[in-house]
């Protein structure tokens, strides 16, 4: 009966709006989380501290150091007198990399041979280290190209237009500046909504159990599916407001472009919310106290959404079992949707499989909650 479902929703709405705590969770928590995570999780490798131990002290060595310090990737923060000082600076973590230029550097160059230089990199943070290596290689490659060309020119040889056999013209699509915030923020939207949604509904049934209001309710003709649906609807609406809030904050604070359709993003967010809210509802039905429900809701949503959804760690790099497991996590599917719409401007023609999975997920949760809810004490 539709009236009963509506009555439950109406009652739930009133209760939400009279409860300052819930309202605070709804309004403040998502924006706070976005700001904290958005600024904290930054995968860009910029301004790495570089120590230099220049034994050569020649024009050539100064040119090389200049090549490193010109870009935004490395900042030369220390000129050190000995090799030991350089290694100590790395040990103590004062610098992330050290460039050692040997005494024979300019002589080797003048002789026309290969001039070795040493670059020490702190590999304890492997992600940063591998990025740093890539940057350093690029700088050195470019610099040695310049030196070779100069040497040839000095010998009176002309350099032709195509010195290399293969010429890669690299173009990065969707996120041309490779800004990690563009990658992180749409993912954060998924993680935040997942946690918030589950948290909101995880209270709703168990609260009635704790306060004793459940007894009057189960003595009434209201059916489990009416109760579950009635409780879900207000939260879908409220959490949709959060979607707008989080997306707006993402655009304003982090300047993440929204290439695709905002309407489609909202619509598919609502589908995702159904699934997330459904998980919270099921937790609420099974739990015996609000405390347990809250803990379970946070653990069951935050950790998997952060670690296994592809939010930060690429799914393709996971072991096969984990890769399979990622499909069980709603955020995995919504991440594809969010990044697709935000960065690529994808439409429903591409994203419908994810949307369908989330829709079925939501219905499954609603069904399980209704089945598990007993109209008995």
């Amino acid at each position: 009966m539709l009236l009963r479902t509506w009555m439950i929703s109406w009652k739930e709405f009133i209760q939400i709006f009279r409860d300052a705590r819930t309202l605070a969770v709804v309004v403040i928590l998502p924006v706070l989380m976005l700001v904290l995570f958005g600024y904290a999780i930054n995968l860009d490798v910029r301004h790495l501290k570089l120590a230099v131990h220049d034994q050569d002290r020649s024009q050539a060595s100064r040119d090389l150091i200049g090549a490193f310090s010109r870009g935004e990737h490395f900042d030369v923060t220390a000129y050190l007198g000995s090799y030991d000082e350089a290694t100590e600076a790395l040990d103590r973590g004062r610098v992330q990399a050290a460039l050692v230029i040997p005494t024979e550097f300019s002589e080797d160059l003048a002789a026309g041979g290969a001039a070795p230089v040493q670059l020490l990199i702190d590999g304890s943070d492997s992600t940063t280290a591998s990025t740093a290596i890539a940057y350093a290689n690029a700088i050195i490659l470019q610099h040695s190209g310049k030196i070779s060309a100069g040497a040839l020119r000095r010998r009176g040889l002309m350099v032709h237009a195509e010195p290399l056999a293969l010429d890669t013209r690299l173009r990065v699509w969707y996120n041309p500046e490779l800004k990690s915030t563009n990658f992180i923020v749409p993912g954060l939207v998924a993680v935040i909504l997942m946690m918030l949604a589950a948290l909101l509904t995880s209270m709703t049934v168990v609260r009635e159990r704790e306060r004793g209001t459940i007894e009057q309710l189960i003595a009434s003709p209201v059916m489990p599916h009416e109760l579950m649906l009635g409780k879900l609807v207000p939260y879908v609406i409220i959490a949709s407001v959060d979607v707008v809030l989080v997306i707006a904050a993402g655009k304003l604070l982090f300047r993440v472009p929204l290439v695709g359709s905002p309407v489609l993003l909202l619509a598919l967010s609502a589908v995702f919310l159904m699934a997330a809210l459904g998980i919270g509802l099921l937790i609420s039905v099974v739990s015996t106290s609000q405390q347990t429900a809250m803990t379970v809701a946070v653990l069951a949503t935050v950790l998997p959404s952060m670690l296994l959804s592809g939010f930060i760690f690429p799914i393709s790099a996971m072991p096969a079992v984990l890769q399979w497991l990622t499909n069980v996590i709603p955020a995995t599917h919504f991440l594809v949707i969010a990044r697709g719409i935000f960065l690529k401007g994808s439409g429903l023609s591409l994203l419908w499989p994810q949307a369908l999975v989330l829709l079925l997920y939501g219905l499954l949760m609603l069904g399980l909650s209704s089945l598990r809810f007993r109209k008995r004490l």
């Binding site: 009963r4 009279r18 004793g212 003595a219 009434s220 003709p221 059916m223 109209k375 008995r376």
Partner: protein, 321 residues
């Protein structure tokens, strides 16, 4: 709403049992309640009153036995029962964060009361419960007496055929209890069967019929008058004697005093006629106790209940030994 043929019985229960683990809360209970009467379910705390009422309302599954409420089976047709009954649980269970009016509207909607009718019912309930001026107050801010009346109102918003009240006046002051019983009479006056549990003896006197429950068993049933006549065979004496405890010891040895119990500052003694009264007086005077007034009294329900519980305990001890 159509009511199946109930042969004038609103509730019938046969061998109803409820066990929680090793504990038997309700032990082979059988009784019936006629349509239109106020049936009082009387017993001390923990006797199984709430458990029984919850089974009848379909929110607790019996371990075994059968039951029928207004023509529907409590095992298989609990949802049909729920549509047609009103239930007020022992613990206040309306929404504290909804206003008085919102609670009425919520339960009206849940029970499918049409909007127009709901408006009428709401006005009636507010008036009946004297809550008209507090319609917009948050329910949580009401005093206990008001809350109980609102709970009663919400339980009858859909005009049920039978109303189950579980300790409706627990924790309420005597004046409010008196008012509350006036409301119960109001509801019953409209033809509604009322099934009410209580452990207040004075409230039991308000009921048309009583069931006395002790340790999960029904130990007596009937109208208050019937119980008084049937259960105490003999004469009940009120005996004033000092010191009371010494008098109690003396009468415990006296065969003419069939039952002795301390009742306030006096003793209640069951004996047989005037001859018995004389032998009780003689026994006391012979023992050196200061004897005051001795006279026959009409037993109260409390006397009956104490007597019945003692009988039940003796029977249990007899079986156990």
């Amino acid at each position: 709403m159509t009511r199946p043929e109930t042969f004038g019985q609103a509730v019938t229960v046969e061998n109803l049992v409820k066990r929680f683990g090793d504990f038997t809360a309700v032990d082979h209970l059988s009784f019936s309640v006629s349509a239109g009467e106020i049936f009082g379910f009387l017993g001390p705390n923990g006797a199984g009153k709430s458990t029984t009422i919850r089974m009848l309302c379909g929110i607790l599954a019996p371990t075994s036995g059968r039951g029928n409420v207004i023509g529907f089976d409590i095992l298989t047709e609990s949802e049909q029962i729920k549509e047609r009954i009103g239930y007020m649980s022992q613990k206040f269970s309306l929404y504290d964060d909804l206003t008085v009016e919102e609670n009425i509207e919520f339960y009206g909607g849940i029970y499918g009361v049409p909007a127009g009718r709901l408006e009428q019912r709401k006005r009636w309930i507010l008036e009946m419960a004297d809550l008209t001026e507090r319609a917009d107050s948050l329910t949580g801010e009401l005093a206990v007496g008001w809350k109980q009346r609102l709970a009663l109102g919400c339980a009858v918003v859909h005009e049920p055929q039978i109303l189950f009240l579980d300790e409706p006046t627990a924790g309420v002051d005597p004046t409010s209890r008196r008012n509350f019983w006036d409301l119960i009479y109001d509801v019953a006056g409209g033809g509604v069967t009322v099934f009410v549990t209580t452990h207040y003896m004075d409230e039991a006197e308000h009921c048309d019929r009583l069931g006395l429950i002790y340790a999960g068993k029904l130990i007596a049933s009937g109208s208050p008058q019937q119980l008084k006549e049937r259960c105490v065979a003999g004469t009940l004496l009120e005996v004033h004697a000092q010191p009371v405890m010494q008098a109690l010891d003396v009468l415990a040895q006296e065969p003419a005093a069939r039952e002795v119990a301390v009742f306030g500052a006096a003793l209640h003694v069951v004996t047989d006629g005037e001859a018995g009264e004389k032998r009780v007086r003689a026994a006391l005077e012979g023992s050196g106790v200061t004897v005051g007034h001795i006279g026959a009294i009409v037993p109260s329900l409390e006397d009956i209940f104490v007597a019945l519980i003692e009988q039940a305990d003796r029977a249990a001890a007899g079986v156990g030994g």
